[in-house]
């Protein structure tokens, strides 16, 4: 076993983290009140899922219609590019701190702050996805008498699904990641384990990091599943 590159303390801290997830531990600062354990882990996980889903939903409600409209009309390319670039430049920590200071703490404000991160990738990718649909396909659809709305729904959106979902998955990654620092704005998520090391100890921090990583992967794989379900049969055949 001595050839194993993993030093023993790493395994020990991993063991501590797993123990923290399943059984409550004593803490130095809570006056005998136990912290961690499966109940608290589940509660904070659900909080983070709720906050992330709300923010993702809000981003979709804002970004999808604008992206679809601009993409269908083929206008506002510069706007879509600019908003995508601007979105990447926003520092998450400053955004959360600013929203908390400027408009106050709470779930609603945080949902808005997180949606600010989700809108740019969804809007830009929806625009690009719809806009790059072959003009010949659109003309053919128009030729057989489809209305503009039908063209969008039956031709452009199905063809743009992969690109649109690249945006949605990017938004989801940013939102779940930033929901981790939500405790700074008064909403307890799994990030509480990470940020408040003095309460939860090193095991709590590692447990939080593990749970956050798993949650992010679950979001990513679920969205990949939804994308697969929404991809039309014809397109699946083509790529197979």
């Amino acid at each position: 076993m001595s050839t194993l590159p993993l030093p023993h303390p790493v395994l020990a801290s991993l063991e501590g983290a797993i123990e923290f997830i399943f059984t409550p531990q004593s803490s130095n600062v809570t006056g005998g009140k136990k912290v961690g354990g499966i109940d608290q882990v589940v509660e904070l996980t659900l909080n983070q899922i709720e906050l992330s889903l709300l923010a993702l939903l809000l981003s979709l409600l804002v970004a999808l219609p604008i992206g679809l409209y601009l993409g269908h009309r083929g206008i506002g390319e510069l706007f879509a590019t600019a908003i995508a670039n601007a979105g990447r430049a926003v520092p998450e920590l400053a955004l959360i701190a600013f929203m908390a200071t400027a408009i106050g703490v709470g779930v609603l404000n945080l949902t808005i702050a997180l949606a600010v991160l989700g809108v740019p990738p969804i809007l830009a990718n929806t625009f690009v996805g719809i806009n790059q649909v072959d003009r010949a396909s659109v003309e053919a659809a128009r030729g057989i008498g489809m209305t503009e709305f039908e063209i969008l729904r039956k031709v452009e959106i199905p063809l743009a699904i992969p690109t649109i979902f690249t945006g949605i998955r990017g938004a989801s990654i940013a939102i779940v990641a930033t929901a981790t620092i939500a405790p700074l704005a008064g909403v307890l998520t799994l990030g509480d384990f990470i940020i408040n090391q003095n309460v939860y100890g090193d095991s709590g921090v590692l447990a939080g990091a593990i749970m956050v990583s798993l949650l992010a992967l679950v979001f990513e794989f679920s969205l990949a599943g939804v994308q697969h379900l929404l991809t039309s049969k014809g397109l699946k055949l083509r790529s197979a």
Binding site: E77, T81, A89, A94, A97, L184, I195, L217
Partner: protein, 245 residues
């Protein structure tokens, strides 16, 4: 509640960081103002060290990420069967939030700047790898045929034809990765990595401080974006006039 360990980690900035220098002015922190220009102007120099640290974090981690991702892309270009697994692995690494990554690495690397740099570098892998692969895939087969016809070896074709034609995509990846890293590096404070996240996190409810730290980070991101765009235009003079996203 802020942990003592974290405060120790961010200790360089110290408790007096946002305190007033001139005692005769109304303390900015005591007011409800989101931004006090006077305070900002008077104390701007305090953001010098965090800005330089931030710059170092970004440059080192992006260079590291680029070296690894570019190497992986060249490898996958030669050995096609590696393409899908590499895309999957870098994708999973990209999905894990960087703040979680810091603390997953911490038991292995310890609370040092390396932890932040490794996590930030890993975050850039997917973006740079995917863009390099796209760029190489977009090179027309006819161009490669022509190069082959001129008697070029595979190695010559790669370095003198394919990579040059892929430059716009590679630079687009580098630009996206750098701009994102500037933003995400504000979280490096949690791993003891310093940077602009340090003043930001230590006085997280002081509006002027938030605007200053966040503002410097945004300006840095824009500067990198413009710099890389200019560099790409210089390296691909034949594309001048063509639009790129």
């Amino acid at each position: 509640m802020t942990s003592p360990a974290l405060l120790a980690a961010v200790g360089e900035v110290g408790k007096g960081f946002v305190q007033e220098r001139s005692s005769d002015t109304l303390p900015c922190q005591a007011t409800d103002k989101l931004f006090c220009p006077d305070w900002a102007w008077e104390h701007l120099d305090r953001y010098g060290t965090p800005t330089v640290q931030h710059l170092e974090l970004v440059v080192i981690s992006v260079l590291l990420g680029f070296a690894v991702a570019f190497g992986l892309a060249l490898l996958a270009h030669r050995r096609r069967w590696l393409q899908t697994p590499l895309l999957g692995v870098t994708g999973i690494l990209f999905t894990i939030p960087s703040i979680a990554f810091f603390f997953l690495l911490l038991p292995i690397t310890g609370r040092v700047r390396h932890t932040a740099i490794i996590a930030l570098a890993i975050y850039t892998l997917q973006i740079i790898y995917r863009n390099t692969m796209t760029g190489l895939a977009n090179v027309p087969e006819s161009v490669k045929d022509a190069a082959r016809g001129m008697g070029m070896t595979d190695r010559q074709i790669l370095w003198q034809v394919e990579l040059r034609l892929a430059t716009p995509e590679i630079f687009a990846g580098l630009q996206i990765a750098t701009v994102s890293t500037v933003a995400i590096a504000t979280l490096a404070v949690f791993a003891g990595g310093g940077g602009l996240g340090k003043p930001l996190y230590e006085h997280i409810s002081f509006g002027t401080n938030i605007v200053l730290s966040g503002g410097i980070a945004i300006l840095m991101a824009i500067a990198f974006g413009v710099l890389l765009f200019g560099l790409q235009r210089r390296l691909t003079p034949w594309r001048r006039g063509a639009t790129t996203i």
